[in-house]
């Protein structure tokens, strides 16, 4: 079943167009990897899918009870978060904010969901730890748990392994793969084309060249040949 259909999307800011004529669709349980050069509009595409900014043209359709606010989002870390005094539990719980409605406080179910997702990602032991004292990999797990609190259907990950060391990167990739196996649709932006394509089912390449299709077709395509030739830098076994 298709969850997300984009037709002729045009992305950018006011008078700057970053990408044009993007058409693709995402099915339930899919694992889509968005690749492309810096400045190709990958993050802008993601922000547009989340309705953080408007597309300059084209349409985005959400199906299968999916709405922009029921997508779990893992943004790139900001400077503000680096020394933010918040416990892991507080951060994860804030992922439940879309289910608060007009209530002022989190419900029992929300708190239960936060606990379950911490368990799911193996960070229950860190619940009372301060977010800023964690390692980069642990911080990403916390943010991923928060994203999971917001959704049961779809995750949008913006460079989830940026700045992580090789071992932790591999762990992160298999964690995301595991979530995908559990039935959650994954859309991921990555710089590391060769490595991320290993886990993905579909590839969307934007920028100088456009490609949308399965990973196998991508390997055979001109764009895939060009970018996959570099090899996988992180995956050592």
């Amino acid at each position: 079943m298709e969850q997300l259909i984009c037709k002729n999307l045009k992305l950018g800011y006011e008078d700057i167009t970053l990408a044009e004529d993007l058409s693709f669709s995402v099915e339930a349980g899919d694992y889509l990897c968005i690749v492309g050069e810096n400045g190709a509009g990958k993050s802008t595409l993601m922000r547009t899918l989340l309705r953080l900014q408007k597309p300059l043209g084209g349409t985005i359709e959400y199906h299968d009870d999916l709405t922009a606010s029921s997508i779990g989002y893992l943004p790139q870390q900001t400077l503000v978060q680096k020394d933010f005094p918040a416990s892991v539990y507080e951060v994860v719980l804030s992922g439940c904010q879309n289910s608060m409605g007009f209530h002022l406080f989190y419900s029992k179910e929300a708190k239960e969901r936060a606990r379950k997702n911490m368990e799911r990602l193996g960070i229950s032991g860190l619940a009372k730890k301060c977010y800023r004292d964690l390692s980069g990999g642990q911080q990403q797990r916390v943010l991923l748990a928060r994203a999971l609190c917001a959704t049961e259907k779809m995750l949008l990950l913006d460079e989830p392994v940026a700045g992580l060391d090789p071992l932790v990167t591999t762990e992160m990739y298999s964690l995301i793969d595991k979530l995908n196996d559990e039935g959650i649709t994954v859309i991921m932006i990555s710089h590391d084309i060769a490595c991320s394509v290993k886990y993905a089912k579909h590839v969307l390449h934007i920028g100088n060249e456009f490609f949308f299709g399965t990973v196998d077709d991508y390997r055979k395509s001109p764009a895939g040949n060009k970018y996959l030739g570099e090899g996988c830098h992180h995956h050592h076994g």
């Binding site: 309705r51 933010f84 904010q97 009372k128 928060r146």
Partner: protein
């Protein structure tokens, strides 16, 4: 201690403690959002607005200072995100401009024979203990209650929007509205606090308790609670101290806050190692 018998001492203590409470609550958010300087900028705006109110001859200056400050607060928070002039430059521009404008007005249209004294007390707060009317005290109590209730009611959303605005917006939280609420509350606090510590020292009330709490505590909730308690204690001791030692009330409170920060810094270092 028979000072308690005087109503103006009671008033000053009530108002001081309430303002300290409100400013410390919002201070945590402002410091974490990297908006520490907005308090400083807004207090200068309030100073300029007060000068206008004095020249126009308003008896209740808050009628003018409050809306102008709220407007500027919204403007600053809004430009901070998407304008061509970046947030910090916009704050510097507006704050220095308002300061100059206010001082010029006070000199061009003097309302009393002692301009230097007037300017000095609006910048640094009253020389001696505050003299407040009953109406001012009641207004302050009402506004403080509103601020505290708003803070508690929106606590979870404030945390969400402070920690990660993109995420909050993506999952459908009304971040723009929340930012406006934050801007409005901070403007109200600043206008209230100006009488107490003067416009140059207002931001001390906003940032010091939050920074002190962050030295020691590691969760948002504990930082917020400790910062409120610390701020209230510092304001109380500061006011009492200023009465006993006959010092200016505003700077005495700020010195108490700085001392508390020093203690928290040391405790934080010991705890951290």
């Amino acid at each position: 201690m028979n000072y308690w018998a005087y109503p103006f001492v009671r008033y000053a203590l009530i108002v001081g403690v309430l303002i300290a409470l409100c400013s410390s609550l919002l201070g945590v958010i402002l410091v974490l959002k990297r908006f520490s300087y907005i308090g400083d900028g807004l207090s200068h705006v309030a100073f300029g607005a007060m000068a206008i109110a004095a020249v126009v001859g308003l008896t209740d200056q808050m009628v003018l200072t409050l809306p102008i400050t709220i407007l500027c607060a919204i403007l600053l928070l809004w430009t901070g995100q998407n304008a061509k002039i970046k947030g910090d430059a916009a704050i510097a521009m507006i704050s220095v401009g308002a300061l100059a404008f206010g001082y010029l007005l006070m000199n061009l249209f003097p309302t009393s024979s002692n301009i230097a004294g007037d300017v000095c007390s609006s910048l640094f707060g009253s020389m001696k203990i505050l003299t407040l009317t009953k109406t001012e005290v009641i207004l302050c109590i009402v506004l403080s209650i509103i601020v505290v209730i708003a803070f508690i009611a929106l606590y979870n959303r404030f945390f969400a929007v402070t920690f990660d605005e993109s995420f909050a917006k993506a999952v459908g939280t009304k971040t723009t509205l929340l930012n406006f609420v934050i801007a409005t509350i901070i403007a109200v606090i600043i206008v209230l606090a100006m009488n107490l510590v003067g416009s140059l020292l207002v931001s001390a009330l906003v940032i010091f308790p939050a920074l002190s709490a962050m030295r020691i505590f590691k969760s948002f909730k504990s930082v917020t609670i400790f910062s409120a308690i610390l701020s209230v204690c510092c304001a109380f001791f500061g006011i009492v101290l200023s009465i006993l030692c006959d010092t200016p009330v505003g700077s005495t409170i700020v010195i108490t806050d700085i001392a508390a920060f020093g203690v928290c810094w040391v405790v934080g270092r010991i705890k951290g190692n």
